[in-house]
Amino acid sequence: MAGQKKLTVVISQHQGKNPVKRQLEEELAMAFMLDPEIEVSIVPNLYDLSHDHSGLLFLQGIQGDVVVLSWLFPRATQWILDRTGVKGKAGTVFLVGEEDEEDEDQDEAEQKNPDAIGTLDVPDRLIYSIDLRASTDAQEFLDEIRRIVDVTSTETVDLMSWIQGEPKKEQLERYLNPQEILGIGNSDTGSVATGSIAEVEAEEKVRRRWYPVIDYDRCTNCMECIDFCLFGVYGVDALDRILVEAQDSCKKGCPACSRVCPENAIVFPQHKTPAIAGSAGEVAGLKIDLSQLFGGGNAVEMAARERDIELVRDGRDAVGMAVGIPKRQADSCGVRDELDDLIDGLDDLDL
């Protein structure tokens, strides 16, 4: 037997050096290290990991269920991982931030667009994405992970199947050399270390990145993003499915394609607007965005303007609304009924 099956917990660090956030990360890491049923690893902010970063290679090597704690909306975490080939079914997390809580009930029902193309080759394992902003109390995270440990430890079928089957090379490797996963005191695991967090930073420089992440549970492959983006970020795979092909061709700070996406399927995890950063709700479910009212124009105009700024910065000509603008010009907000109550009702909305 490979011994007791452990749950892998990965902590994705915050980009900044905010001491409060660092402290929560460290506190959790310490607690997990002491837990015999948990293997913990720390990686720099998931979103920033380049394809050859050891942290990413480590994540790709994890078999079985995994919990990922990050300072990102769970949707963002899920699809960043998906893009890098770390796939699995989304595990149910009970610890969600206040902001997302509202939508919890509708999540299951509404997350998936029936026309969405979905992701491919999803192995039978669970990935639990937890937003570290969901609480400031470390204990709440520990309780939640404990709960997940209990849930996952009852499933042993998976383990048996690979023992009887043909284990992959890296599986065998880990089986023979368990320290490798733990990453303790092993310098060639790079920044995957459970030891000191300072070590993590020294090992491999991670620069901040900026690129779109597609939520395939929403994406319908309509291709409006590829038509709109003039920087060659998008491409299609062998099956003609849209994908973010050239991540680093994306223009830092520009979220324009996410605004033109009719399904709200494009996530920029570091964008300040929750709806764009991957909050679960339709409009982040939490706050009303009044930008349109205060002169922002509609989303498509805004996107065209943002794109123009980047084009000009690149020494190209602004194209305004002339290129790649979605044909849909839907301003259809559906039926109108007791709308006058709406503003008065805002007070009662427990947003």
Partner: protein, 149 residues
Amino acid sequence: MAEDLVFMMGKYEARVPTDCLYSKSHLWLRQDGLRYHVGFTAYSVRLLQDVYFLDWSVDSGVQVFEKQEIGEVESSKALSTLYAPFDGRIAEFNELLLDDPSGINTDGYGNGWLFTFETDAEPLTPEQYLEVLEGGWEKTQNMLKGQVN
């Protein structure tokens, strides 16, 4: 001083003082020498409700163009990017609000001013602004409804 104009937002009376000029983006501009003091109209404040965060992304003294992003506002119910109301120059921001933006709620047409602004543009008259409000009310409600649902 003439009596304020009033726009009914449902049951709420949004005041439109006649000693101000306005922008379509729901800001008031009150002339003060060569500059205008600029702030949120009662209509905007009503939609925002309790403002608790205000941040400017441009420095004072800079030239801005109409609809340029200049900052962010966040309230108990809403958030928004803020945009320059016209081409012009932002002379100075109201420093007091940066520490405590509650002035926007308590004295929106007075101490709750956001910044001073120099522009050659011709802002809307109170009557014109009222027309904007009347014309846009349905759309605004639809937009809100679209987001709330």
